[in-house]
């Protein structure tokens, strides 16, 4: 693909008349905060992947580094999870989302300087939180391991971003609202509501007994279906029609997808407490919602698959589309797997096993990560007005990610079924069942290595692009940033 040609072509498609501010102006308003969010998201992806890698190495070599409690498997796992969810996925998603808000609303980003300040605070909160987990100050609540002080800081940081993002949304040009805009608006409100509730009820003023666990399960479901999923779907609903140049099929159904995701996503969390010591009706409502989530999932497939199918040649060639195509497939498969395994007779086998783990890994690294990374391949060249220096590195990133993902997820999903079946058979000694999981961890090391290599290819390409952009006029870039910051302050 010719560098500038593609940018011009897809921009022309995005740019149906009338468009008051030129796209270049919109992009300029986004440059500072979106670039910050994407870069820090990438940095956290590397940190999170490294922690994840160390965790699995600790499983295979449990005596290595044993003298250091910060390297305990039990601390590395939540540290990696939080780094990936709040550092990588949330920040990349916000970066892409901010850009989409400006593009779709045809309005420059409001207060880009303050949003960038929010990004700095966000990274600070997260650094404190991850270090606290590693040093043993984690809360121990599943999905909310970061201590209260860092989570309140995270919430404050989000306010810097969320308020101005909603302001930008509200400034959208008159005309019909697009599906991506509904998803973005939902995510921007749901995230602070989820985090505030969980903070108050689970971490800061916890109730007695199982109550915090119920709220934490609801929160984890919410982070999946009301935060990361709508952010990723907003990107999918924008980039697929814009790059293929074809409208989404069955688009009239998208409104049902949105409202059913809003409702069932909010109720789905407690399905992960199945078999646990909580009132049965709570789990049952979670199961029902998890199964009904198949409604939005089916609609997303009906909206996107016909378009992708009719442009298969382009999907295989295009830097962005192939990431998104795999992401949509992961989205459908993971939710299908979750729905099937929500039923009690299936959960009796798969709950608490690596099969369940494989599905949550595929959700984060297949659906969410591939969507945002693919979208970044579209957004960054427009922010920097320059195409990627090496298309080959993009291919390396794609294939290494896909292969690595398969090597991590498939053995875990398959062997998790054996693990669950055999644990339910009291005649097989537990130690033997668990020891056999070693081969899965071996595949995981290989898979994570490939994924890490792929991500490094992306980082290299990104750094190369920045160097190319900034070397000729480093001084003017500095002047530009200073100017932007000054503008946003005087605009107050």
């Amino acid at each position: 693909m010719s560098p500038t040609g593609t940018i011009a072509k897809t921009d022309a498609l995005a740019d149906s008349p009338p468009a008051p501010p030129p796209l270049a102006e919109l992009d300029a308003s986004c440059q500072l905060p979106v670039l910050y969010f994407l870069l820090s998201g990438l940095a956290w992806l590397l940190v999170g992947s490294l922690l994840q890698f160390e965790a699995v190495v600790r499983l295979l070599f449990p005596d290595w580094c044993a003298i250091c409690p910060a390297m305990s498997y039990g601390r590395l796992v939540p540290a990696a999870e939080n780094a990936l969810v709040y550092g990588f996925a949330s920040q990349m998603g916000l970066g892409i989302g901010l850009w989409l808000l400006a593009r779709l609303g045809r309005t420059p980003l409001v207060a880009p300087g303050l949003i960038a300040a929010g990004n700095v605070l966000w990274n600070l909160a997260l650094t404190v939180g991850i270090l606290a987990i590693l040093l043993g100050d984690g809360t121990g609540h599943a999905g909310l391991e970061m201590p209260a002080y860092s989570q309140w800081m995270l919430l404050a940081a989000y306010m810097f971003v969320g308020i101005w993002a909603v302001q930008t949304w509200a400034h959208h040009s008159s005309g019909p609202l697009y599906a991506s805009q509904w998803f973005l608006l939902g995510a921007l409100f749901w995230f602070p509501w989820l985090l505030t509730t969980a903070q108050l009820v689970v971490v800061t003023f916890p109730g007695r007994g199982v109550l915090p666990a119920i709220t934490a399960a609801w929160f984890v479901g919410g982070i999946q279906h009301l935060w990361l999923t709508p952010l990723a779907l907003a990107a999918i609903y924008y980039f697929i029609p814009v790059i293929t140049g074809r409208p989404l099929r069955n688009y009239h159904l998208a409104v049902i997808a949105f409202w059913s995701l809003a409702l069932f996503g909010a109720w789905s969390g407690p399905a992960r407490l199945i078999g646990g010591p909580v009132p049965a009706w709570i789990v049952t409502s979670g199961i029902v919602a998890t199964v009904l989530l198949l409604i939005p999932v089916t609609i997303v497939a009906l909206n996107t698959w016909p378009v992708l199918g009719s442009r298969l040649g382009q999907v295989c060639q295009n830097q962005v589309l192939r990431f998104l195509a795999v992401a949509v497939v992961c989205f459908v498969l993971v939710n299908l797997g979750n729905a099937v395994n929500a039923f009690r007779f299936r959960a009796a086998v798969t709950h608490l096993t690596l099969n369940e783990w494989a599905r949550s890994f595929a959700f984060l690294h297949g659906f969410v990560a591939l969507t945002f990374l693919g979208a970044a391949y579209h957004v960054v060249p427009r922010l920097m007005r320059r195409d990627w220096p090496s298309p080959r590195l993009v291919s390396v990133h794609f294939w290494f990610s896909i292969l690595g993902l398969a090597l991590v997820v498939i053995p875990a999903a398959v062997d998790g079924l054996r693990q669950g079946r055999e644990l339910n058979d009291a005649t097989v000694p537990a130690a033997r069942i668990l020891e056999q999981l070693r081969s899965v961890f071996g595949w995981r090391v290989l898979g994570l290595t490939l994924m890490g290599a792929g991500n490094l290819a992306f980082v290299t390409n990104f750094a190369w692009l920045l160097v190319r952009c900034w070397t000729p006029g480093f001084k003017s870039a500095v002047a530009f940033f200073a100017n932007e910051a000054a503008k946003s302050v005087t605009a107050r």
Binding site: P62, D63, A66, S72, G209, A213, A266, N424, A430
Partner: protein
């Protein structure tokens, strides 16, 4: 779907429905849950943990043991936990009244510990496992915790609380490993993990039913 305020109201109401259903109502339902006092023995269950065990619970949380060890016994029709001997009845909300934070877990890469204290019985406490799980179960992938033990010099005779390390795990002659206070607290916590007490909502099986 072109009116921002209407979309906002929908976003608010769908969320509020789940908030009321899954946060507010459970809090009302479970707020009054109290320990059960047995009519026969007059004993109250569950009981708050004594100081040492409570300190141990903190260490258990901080080390992240929950990453592999669950603490929940699923009902008989929901898995093989009871058949495997991980508990004599399913776990229910009341069992966890004094657990803070709850360490239910979501992965079983290791045995469930909800009733570990019960299983341990009069066996020697699991200091060796805490020092190096391989010294007890070959092939275990549990992280070793040597930082829970102190090495000190000894004159040929091991002190009573020193670790009896088997072949392949010995340390140099003239020194011994003794548990730190933290290790003692962790063991006290592990001993306190038991709920082989019948509750109205989860009675223990009588001998006839078990047959």
């Amino acid at each position: 779907m072109n009116h921002g305020p209407l979309i906002f109201l929908g976003i608010l109401f769908t969320f509020a429905s789940a908030w009321c259903g899954l946060v507010l109502v459970p809090h009302q339902q479970l707020a009054d849950l109290a320990p059960n006092v047995s009519e026969e023995t007059g004993q109250s269950f569950p009981q708050a943990r004594p100081g040492d065990a409570a300190q141990g619970a903190r260490l258990y949380t901080s080390l992240g043991c929950v990453a592999c060890h669950t603490q929940q016994v699923r009902p008989e029709d929901g898995g093989g936990d009871i058949a495997r001997g991980w508990g004599s009845r399913r776990s229910v909300a009341r069992d966890y009244l004094y657990d803070m934070p709850l360490q239910l877990g979501n992965q079983r890469l290791a045995p469930d510990l909800a009733n570990y204290g019960e299983r341990l019985g009069t066996n020697p406490p699991p200091y060796l496992h805490l020092y190096n799980p391989r010294a007890v179960t070959a092939g275990s992938f549990c992280s070793a915790n040597p930082f829970l033990f102190t090495r000190r010099a000894t004159n040929n005779t091991l002190s009573p609380d020193a670790l009896r390390l088997r072949k392949g795990f010995e340390i140099e002659v003239g020194s011994e490993l003794v548990p730190t206070r933290e290790a003692d607290q962790l063991v006290a916590y592990l001993r306190s993990l038991r709920f082989a007490v019948g509750l109205p909502e989860a009675p223990l099986k009588t001998a006839e039913e078990t047959k």
